[in-house]
Symmetry: C2
Subunit: 249 residues, 2 copies
């Protein structure tokens, strides 16, 4: 197969792996070995990939759909760590945590994923030091991402966090009028940003009043992205446009 399963319209394991940055440095044989051990799987909305502390034999790459990473407290509260879209990797750090997943993962809508044995990843790291280095790099990048996340949660208001979220899904070098489509439920975005749905709704209105964006259901329109960035980024230590930190797990 060149790159498509003609029957499903889904890319082949090898072609999926090929577009994930951390595998860039892998040789063809490396990649094909990995692909041979991988499997395309389907998870319907609400299905759980794994729970925090489960034994980890596979990690995943999102091919289609959205995946929620989260942790739950004894109180029954849920902390959403991230919502992942296409080409994001999850569960791979289990290899550094006693082969247990450090968070839970659930399909928030029907998903196609590539599942890969963690064992194959471990072998790859040991065998290919350039790959290990790339992995370190990705880890460092994600770490910075998290530091920013911590900062946002403590310094930004709800409205600013929403603005920041919109900036991240907007084309960052955009000029003039922009139209953004919210990628998933407002309720889920709220959870992702660590606030209640009610707060999200009200804060979005406040953001509209402050920045002149226009909201219509899941579509958000604005004349100039800078209205948003001057409102949101003043409470952030990174300068706009922020480097894109999204393409990592």
């Amino acid at each position: 197969m060149a790159s498509q399963h003609s029957s499903t319209g889904i890319a082949s394991p090898a072609s999926i792996l090929a577009r994930i940055p951390i595998f860039d440095v892998c040789s063809e044989p490396n990649l094909h070995d990995l692909a041979a051990k991988s499997m395309i799987r389907y998870y319907e909305k609400g299905k759980v990939f794994f729970l925090s502390d489960d034994a980890a034999d596979y990690f995943y790459i999102v091919v289609k759909g959205w995946v929620k990473l989260f942790r739950e407290t004894l109180d029954g509260e849920q902390a959403v760590i991230d919502i992942l879209s296409q080409d994001h990797v999850f569960g791979e750090t289990s290899i550094f945590h006693n082969h247990e997943y450090p968070y839970s993962a659930e399909a928030v809508e029907d998903c196609t994923v590539l599942s890969i044995p963690t064992k194959a990843l471990e072998q790859l790291i040991v065998a290919n030091s350039e790959f290990a280095l790339g992995m370190l790099q990705a880890m460092a990048k994600y770490r910075k991402h998290q530091e920013r996340e911590i900062e946002h949660r403590s310094l930004q208001s709800a409205a600013q966090r929403i603005g920041c979220f919109l900036l991240r899904i907007a084309p960052q070098n955009a000029h003039g009028r922009i139209n953004i489509h919210l990628p998933y439920d407002k309720t889920l975005i709220a959870a992702r940003l660590g606030m209640q749905p009610e707060t999200f709704s009200r804060a979005l209105n406040k953001l509209r009043d402050e920045t002149g964006i226009r909201i219509n259901g899941a579509s958000v329109e604005m004349d100039d992205i800078r209205h948003l960035s001057s409102f949101s980024c003043s409470a952030c230590s990174s300068n706009f446009p922020c480097e894109d930190l999204s393409k990592n797990d």
Copy 2:
């Protein structure tokens, strides 16, 4: 011991490096090479090691004193990332960030540190794949630590966060009566936990009322650590006792 500078009472670079976990896998020659390129330096209270986005030529290991890592927003707000004590490493991830420091660092009291050229670290990573692997491991561990931090900030109350902080500095397997000495200013602890000094003071009183701990200045005494953990850990997804995640940068 052979490894002490008799004149200063400060350990030699080699002996400092030897007790840092990530260097465990280094060979003697590796370690001595690193030590030869390192330098003991003194920073008085308030002195800045570096600012966020500065060009990074050195990373550091805390030998004595306390170091604050933080970032500042345009608004002038400060987000404290961490307070580091002896044997903690900082600034090393600059090698993955364009040789720029991803945060600012300042001595919160008179400090002795070991400064090491980042170049030497890079060489070590490339030359010693086992070391690279260890670094990955440390990175993964820190990442989990951060995930917990994010969770704490969104799900725990101020009083619970303080309790959690106390649990982390207490001997975790302790039984019966315990006495803890706060390691630095209450104001600084407050900043570390993302709250105002006033809030810290009030929340600490609340914690006392709820858990029966006794507070006297910087000393905190309790009869059973479990009073604290049942109060604080109910809003956390990790079970007490939490794994010790402190010995990482």
